[in-house]
Amino acid sequence: MSSRIRNNIGKLKKANVLLLLGIVLALGMMIALGIGGGRFRFSEMILVFHYSSLSASERTILFDIRLPRILLSVLVGAGLSLSGAVLQGLFQNPLVDPYVLGISSGGAVGAVIAILSGISLGFFTIPLFSFLFALGTTFLVLRLGQIGHKFPLETMLLAGVAIGFFFSALISLGMFLAGENLHQMVFWIMGGLWNSSWKKVLAILPPIAITLPIVFSYSRELNAFLLGEKVAESMGVDVEKVKKILLVISSLSVAACVSVSGVIGFVGLVVPHVIRIITGEDHRLLLPASLLLGSSVLLWADTLSRSLLHPVELPVGVVTSLLGAPFFIYLLRRKKRER
């Protein structure tokens, strides 16, 4: 099947795939704006354009609750899938996800410390702590994995895994000691886009906006990495510099995502694989396509998480993994059968 798809899509131009994914995302955002209270209302989707005719509570619901939440899910989905695609390309390892350098456990340790210590710098205490710890973890892993002026990917991967385990133990310790604050930690670690606000949207917009152009400009170098580091080097790619820049920049956007939404699993791992199955390995297409699909996937996962058991809200991280894992297995089986 996928070969047929690939042939069909191969005939489409790159722009068309992106246009299609873009339209799907835009339509999804429109529809999600009309979903609330456990059902879809066309009127609510359209009413956004009649601001003056809305009551105060309708305005709050549409503009202060749904809109920032939709934008946040789109931004986080974009950040996670793009970083996933970049890191998988860089490490040449299909199991790599955006959290491979220990970023998620670093961010979680930051959140746990903020909750346990009771330090309060306003509502942004926990996101700020988790952002700083997530970034700090990345630099720690880069330092540990560095040998001379080189960044061997295997060492880096192992350093990331080791730091991840160490921090996981710290998180367990924190949870053990948490007592009455335990539920805050559990919720944070589960990952959710609840309580999305414009402040959170504005907080993660800059890191993600910086990431996009830089990452896209390295598409060709990432394509060279497909042939292995040595070949890439012989093709004139400054391998160490590319690795360093891409690791730092993708960590920046993942850290931003983790700080506002906790640990949302599976999006960053699976979306790039799905795109690869559909369009192939060319990073010039893979990166923007992953970004768009990732946004759509998280948008719909979050919309489901707030509608399935309405008015109870589920953690979106649970929804992405519950739906993502079986779908991914299905794709893998299909792909395998064709060979």
Binding site: G36, G37, A56, S57, R59, T60, I61, D64, I65, R66, G118, I119, S120, F123, I126, F176, G179, E180, N181, H183, Q184, F187, W188, G192, W194, N195, S197, R306, H310, P311, V312, E313, L314, P315
Partner: protein, 310 residues
């Protein structure tokens, strides 16, 4: 001679059996899990595995016999001086054994494995798992029977029931429109509230209000959109002791732009409630009920004032 000896032995046996029977009848109670406990004599060394249980024991005048409590037991003051056997969910078995208890009062939060272990060690464990105010009052009476202070238990139960009746007598006559929608918030990220089968739900309904989340099961997350739509007239904010998050939660509720369209915010009907008082299954639940009555119907019960107990 032989006959007399036989009669004497029979008599002794009879007295012995009668005595033990009468004891076991006096000090027998069935706990909330259906387990029946017989004690041969009133316990002298009691261990409490939850703050609510500790409050019950002290209220029954059994405080002096309490040997061990949890690290959360801060009420009454005397409880702070007792030996600590762990927190509510992690308990130190060795510590419990060294205290040689003859009665252990467990709670719904005590891990099942710990209860099994304690019973394997032939310790008398009695579990209190109340889900309603009425059940807490029943539990108080059961503990008083086991503790050999049945009359104290009956007196306390009667006082509590009377206080409860004073409130419900007034709220029962309220019409539906006189019952405001009350939203109780426990945490803001995600927004976490108390639905049905919680003490909070019982307080709100008995005190003449409608729980905004009455259709949800137990403690639950809730969509902020739905809160705005159901427009609470009153919001109660849990204040957990000692932590800094309580002010954060209160600030969130009173300042977040998304809450501004609600009646509770417009009319400044946001109240802090002490989490120790409103969440522990013990005699102070009636105090909590009185608080909610004052918050929801100050015209009937007087003005509510939040006092930090610590």
């Amino acid at each position: 001679m032989k006959k007399t000896l036989r009669t004497i032995i029979q008599l002794i046996l009879f007295i012995f059996i009668f005595q033990s029977l009468s004891y076991s009848q006096e000090l027998t109670a069935t706990d909330d899990t259906g387990f029946t406990l017989h004690l041969l004599q009133p316990p002298q060394r009691i261990i409490s595995l939850s703050p609510g249980n500790t409050e019950i024991l002290f209220a029954l005048g059994l405080g002096e016999k309490v040997m061990g409590v949890t690290t959360y037991c801060n009420e009454p003051q005397e409880a702070l001086t007792k030996e600590k056997i762990g927190n509510v969910t992690e308990i130190d078995l060795e510590k419990i054994l060294t205290l040689q208890p003859d009665l252990i009062l467990a709670s719904s939060l005590t891990p099942d494995e710990a209860i099994v272990r304690l019973r394997e060690l032939n310790l008398s464990v009695f579990i209190l798992k109340s889900e309603s105010i009425a059940q807490v009052i029943e539990d108080i009476q059961k503990v008083s029977i086991l503790g050999g202070v049945e009359s104290a238990g009956q007196a306390l139960a009667q006082t509590l029931q009377e206080k409860m009746k004073q409130i419900t007598d007034k709220t029962n006559s309220l019409t539906d429109t006189q019952k405001p929608v009350v939203f109780h918030i426990i945490w803001h990220d995600p927004i976490w509230t108390a639905g049905n089968h919680t003490f909070i739900n019982e307080f709100i309904t008995l005190a003449g209000g409608k729980n905004l989340a009455g259709d949800l099961n137990g403690y639950s997350t809730v969509d902020i959109e739905e809160i705005i739509r159901r427009n609470p007239a009153i919001i109660t904010v849990i204040e957990s002791h000692g932590g800094s998050d309580q002010s954060q939660l209160y600030q969130f509720v009173t300042t977040d732009s998304r809450f501004q369209s609600m009646d509770a915010i417009k009319n400044q009907q946001v109240y802090l409630v002490d989490s120790d008082i409103v969440s522990r299954p013990g005699p102070r639940l009636i105090t909590a009920l009185e608080f909610f009555a004052q918050i929801i119907h100050p015209e009937l019960f007087g003005k509510y004032e939040f006092k930090n107990q610590k």
